[in-house]
Symmetry: none
Subunit: 201 residues, 2 copies
């Protein structure tokens, strides 16, 4: 995954700061160091660098940035080289050497767990029996996200989440199934789905 000029500048700044101080800078300090006026900009840069696997940090944790030293990139089986793209009828694109993919690219540093899926309630979303959903442990969800929800303290299901006033609609992705419509007080969100992993035997 290629890095932009600006991203490299920020990475350099981070390295220098950590070397000098022994701890990582706050977003505020990064902004000052890079001449940026909005923390949102810093936030986006840091997120992008994290996504590219160039640094590591914990969500919502102050000064938790860890610059990953070049060469430490794991090439174990937990990380696969990304060889390009494939499409029906088109050749595989030129393999860009440094790209790769791993579970980390999906779940980041969030608090996550996996669930094996049974049943077809999300079939139209291409999540089928036997798949593993990768779930971030969270108690809230945004409109339209796929969530793991506990309904009336008994049923746990995998559905799309829609908040409608005091009610919550849990929408299956299967025309043959009915949405669940219940008062918000009867639903507790267990997590939101960040990704899917499927294994063929």
């Amino acid at each position: 995954m290629a890095i932009t000029r600006r991203q490299k500048e920020i990475l350099d700044f981070l390295n220098a700061f950590v070397t000098r101080n022994g701890y990582s800078p706050s977003f505020e300090e990064i902004a000052r160091g890079m001449g940026l006026k909005s923390l949102a900009t810093v936030h986006k840069h840091i997120s992008n660098l994290e996504k590219k696997g160039l640094l590591d940090r914990v969500h919502n944790r102050s000064r938790s940035i860890d610059v990953i030293p070049p060469g430490t990139r794991t090439r174990s089986s937990d990380r696969l080289p990304l060889a390009g793209r494939i499409a029906a009828g088109h050749p595989v694109e030129a393999p860009e050497t440094y790209e790769s993919i791993s579970l980390h690219d999906v779940v980041g540093n969030r608090d996550c767990f996996a669930l094996e899926v049974r049943g077809d309630s999300m079939r139209d979303e291409h999540i089928v029996s036997g798949d593993y959903v990768l779930v971030e442990r969270t108690r809230t969800a945004r409109q339209g996200e796929i969530v793991v929800a506990l309904v009336r303290g008994t049923e746990t299901t995998l559905k799309r989440y829609y908040s409608e006033g005091n009610m919550i609609r849990l929408q299956p992705a299967n025309l043959e199934m009915e949405p669940i419509l219940v008062p918000a007080t009867h639903v507790s969100i267990q997590g939101r789905v960040l990704g899917v992993l499927r294994k063929y035997r």
Copy 2:
């Protein structure tokens, strides 16, 4: 694990104190040294540093702090705990075991790479645009496996593989698309699909 500015200051103080005196400071001495008025604050700092593995101590024991020399650090893994199963309308099954899942469980120690999927030729198999297929580099395939195949040296596609006499049928999983039927000599297998990884934004 990253450290905050205050935590670094405390760690520096501890190091200096031990170097000067040969024994570790009491919480009271730490409070005085750092300009803190409450021992609760000291306690929290020490606990946090201990949690981060930067120092070691015995619970409730005076002056038992040991600063750990920077060395052994462990990075979080690409392995997720498997919390059970989920199904429409049924509770999550008991997560008794210490099961987990990672990319390694899908690809093993095989020679693998990943491809980003474009197009809908495998939609009915629930592989859709944007998914990553995890592919084992191999020249051969068995009946019915999903393969990455190079046809007539130009087109690379993702299809199910069927050998029929001297011909090979590459079958898309999409009713709107036609199977490709070509002489075996015109097809070269690039690999077989072991799994799928999907990431939601």
